[in-house]
């Protein structure tokens, strides 16, 4: 069986297990309504065109944060800073739109650049001083969010008005969110190209197609170019890539820059839709962290992130239909359980690979023992032997 097939199968099985657990939870909380509501959960996303539009609308930024995490995974880095990069990207897109009155595509580029800058610093510290990127990017999540809050509430225009807030544009008492693009700068809204009429929904625009295009682009970069080859070599084995004359330090920075740019663009895509305003945040935006689930479910394959983001978005939209029979918190827990178990794709993949061996004809490779042969009584549980499985798996065939 092809490795690519195993990846897909693993993700599907994980999703099914996750859904089963979700159903069990529904039964525990309210047995009478469990089955009909579970049915709704599964079908809500395609029950009507507006619902489908919402699935696609939410999937677009998820694809991007998923790509951010997946791309970093592929190159041996864990970008947990997608949330911060996403927030900073969103702010720069909105600032370009509201303050500088730029058209939508320049705003998108601004979000891309802002995310890239936010990814650059963790990458730089990692490559120069070997500071773990997880720590730096978590810090940058908070720095990014707080800085954005601060700027939104303090940036003033020439007339001394708080330019990012609605008060500068219309008479409004609202002070905890940015001005809506519909009156601040309609030209900054991502074009709908008639899709809104087709789907009968204001949510629908071309963002999902932009996201999918970027995903395909990233796949090509990773699998078809020398640049991607170098990045992956660094990710899998930094020493070997240095030995082969690859500039590993530069590549670590570039990986984080690209990864950050993806998350930043996600922020731009979401807030330039014109249907949501940036609200002053007290906690990190969950979109960045959902990107981790998206990447795991896709086993870090850029193309896979499109589908896994669609799935997670679909479940989220489906969850809304459980109200009011189930409490909102309950729905969040159920969705979390489904996503959590779905993210076990990697584990499932390893289990499947163990049962279906692909290298039957391996002429003289020594069989790898299932565990390092350590007699427990002799050494305790400690074992420094090689661990053959990597946390980040390759996505399989290149075709």
């Amino acid at each position: 069986m092809k490795k690519g097939m195993i990846s897909v199968l693993a993700s599907v099985i994980s999703i099914l297990v996750g859904l089963l657990f979700g159903l069990l939870l529904l039964i525990v909380v309210n047995p009478a309504m469990a089955f009909p509501k579970f049915g709704e959960l599964l079908t809500a996303g395609v029950s009507s065109l507006p619902k489908l539009a919402k699935v696609l609308y939410q999937a677009a930024p998820l694809v991007m944060t998923g790509l951010a995490v997946a791309f970093a995974f592929k190159t041996g880095l864990f970008n947990i800073g997608a949330s911060g990069q996403y927030t900073v990207g969103a702010f720069c897109a909105l600032a370009c739109a509201i303050i500088f009155q730029m058209p939508w595509w320049i705003c998108l580029i601004a979000s891309l650049v802002a995310g890239a800058v936010w990814g650059f610093f963790p990458g730089l510290f990692k490559s120069l001083f070997n500071v773990n990127e997880v720590i730096t990017s978590i810090m940058f999540n908070w720095i990014g969010m707080m800085a954005v809050n601060l700027l939104c509430m303090n940036l003033k225009n020439a007339a001394g008005q708080l330019v990012m807030l609605p008060t500068a544009w219309v008479s409004s008492p609202i002070k905890d969110r940015t001005a809506a693009l519909s009156y601040a700068n309609p030209s900054a809204m991502i074009p709908k190209m008639g899709l809104d009429r087709l789907f009968q929904s204001n949510y629908m625009n071309i963002s999902i197609f932009i996201a999918a295009l970027v995903a395909v682009l990233l796949w090509v970069v990773l699998n078809r170019t020398t640049f991607g080859y170098e990045l992956k070599a660094c990710g899998y084995n930094k020493n070997a890539s240095i030995y082969a004359g690859i500039n590993a330090k530069r590549n670590i920075v570039l990986s984080m820059v690209i990864s950050g740019a993806m998350a930043g663009l996600g922020g731009g895509l979401y807030y330039l839709a014109g249907t949501a305003d940036y609200t002053i945040q007290k906690a990190l935006l969950p979109m960045g962290f959902n990107g981790i689930s998206v990447a795991l479910l896709a086993t870090s394959n850029p193309i896979g992130t499109i589908f896994s983001a669609l799935f997670i978005s679909y479940i989220q939209v489906g969850g809304e239909s459980l109200q009011p029979v189930y409490a909102k918190e309950m729905i969040d827990i159920i969705i979390a359980v489904i996503i959590y178990l779905s993210a076990f794709a990697l584990l499932t993949k390893n289990i499947i690979s163990k049962y279906i061996r692909t290298d039957k004809t391996n002429v003289n490779a020594e069989p790898v023992p299932p565990a390092a042969p350590v007699p427990a009584a002799e050494t305790g549980a400690v074992d420094s032997g090689e661990v053959p499985e990597k946390t980040v798996e390759s996505e399989g065939e290149d075709k």
Partner: protein, 522 residues
Amino acid sequence: MSEYVIEMLNITKEFPGIKANDNITLQLKHGEVHALLGENGAGKSTLMSVLFGLYQPEAGVIKKDGVEVKINNPNDANALNIGMVHQHFKLVEVFTVLDNIILGAEPNKMGFLQKAEARKKVIELSERYGLQVDPDAKIEDISVGMQQRVEILKMLYRDNDILIFDEPTAVLTPQEIDELMEIMRNFTKEGKSILFITHKLNEIMAVADRCTVLRKGKYMGTVNIKDTTKEELSRMMVGRDVKFEVDKAEQKLGDVVLDVQNVTVPSKIHANNAVKNVSFQVRAGEIVCLAGIEGNGQTQFVYALTGLDKMSEGKITLCGHDISNAKIRDRSKLGMSHIPEDRHKHGLVLDFSLEQNLVLQRYWQPEFQNKGFIRNKEVREYAEKLIKQYDIRSGQGPVTTARSMSGGNQQKAIVAREIDKVPDLLVAVQPTRGLDVGAIEYIHEQLVAQRDAGRAVLLVSLELEEVMSVPDRILVMYEGEIVGEFNPKEVTVEELGLYMAGAKNMYRDVGAKEQGKEREAE
């Protein structure tokens, strides 16, 4: 009492797609050293894992003293007094020697450790068998040879009397190997039985009483060492005649390819320099061997030569170009190939496919890329060519993951990649480490072919046999200095050993210095 202390009769163990052990019988007598010989992948490790209870065989029985036993896990094996020194030591690096020895069998009173008791027993054992260790030293601070002694003491501490040694000499210096052989003989005098897993014929001839040979999972027979020869054993193991001599054409010396002048490399571990003022030349058409005991600066010198690390002083010239501070990629472009010491750390990206690994040094060349896009078709064709030409065996050809390949074939892939670059200078660092005789023979042939084709080869080796047979010239390195230069035809192993151990130096009198050092040590 049965003649045999352990019998493994007709053991068959299958893995999906592979019959790792096919009807294998191994009988270990009381008080003998029994060698288990086979190439990589012949099923030695599997057989031992069965004995240790890590695998359950599909067929066959295990008997202890003539009584059938069931070994379901390592604890059962331990209860039967079977102990094993693994090839890769299973020690806790940050624990002391004593802590490691008692780990899992801690003497205690109501949960409180009784270390004094344990210490007494460990010291007693180490004196009785001549296994010098410092019970309070931390594992990370002691030498590999010492670590092995700790592993052996672990078995003795548990009163094991069936001792399994899995490739114990792979990590040892020649002197340490001799010591180990002596220790093994002492054990057998005490009535302990030893199973000695190896693919080094010389060691079997030196220490074993009998030898069981496996080939590709099949039992080839058990022979008395007294009645056999090295050649016969290798024929049983490989299935054909193996040459131990290396054929070389007459030497045609060319221009100087590599010129190393006064190279000094600082050490990463201590304040001294790891490489001190090393100068030599390598010319086209010769193999120069940098010999020495592990840890005498060879690794650091190669790092500086290949650009993996920086040197503090000196100059390196390759084909007339000063490469002292050149980037690794530039050195490669100027004609340097490097077969690295550690094939997993430097040589391969294990999660890449074989074809991706085969272009690791060349993917950026116009032949394999077009405007930054990898030309997959050309890469595939090139990989298939190398696989055929160098007989690299793998499960799925070019798309096999490097990780799933055997060590010998991984090394072949590296050798193929580095040689096919058509280098002016080939730097080969321990290219045969951990390989079986067939693969060693092959790699030696390739090195000599490079020499005969008029290229310069710098071989770094710890194996005396290799040092004596392959090169045209030997340079001995001791504590970061070159202490002697020899023609392998005119020097004996003993003489070489004295230089390697630092007892002799061609360029200065070492007596005074040595005495000073001894005083320091005390």
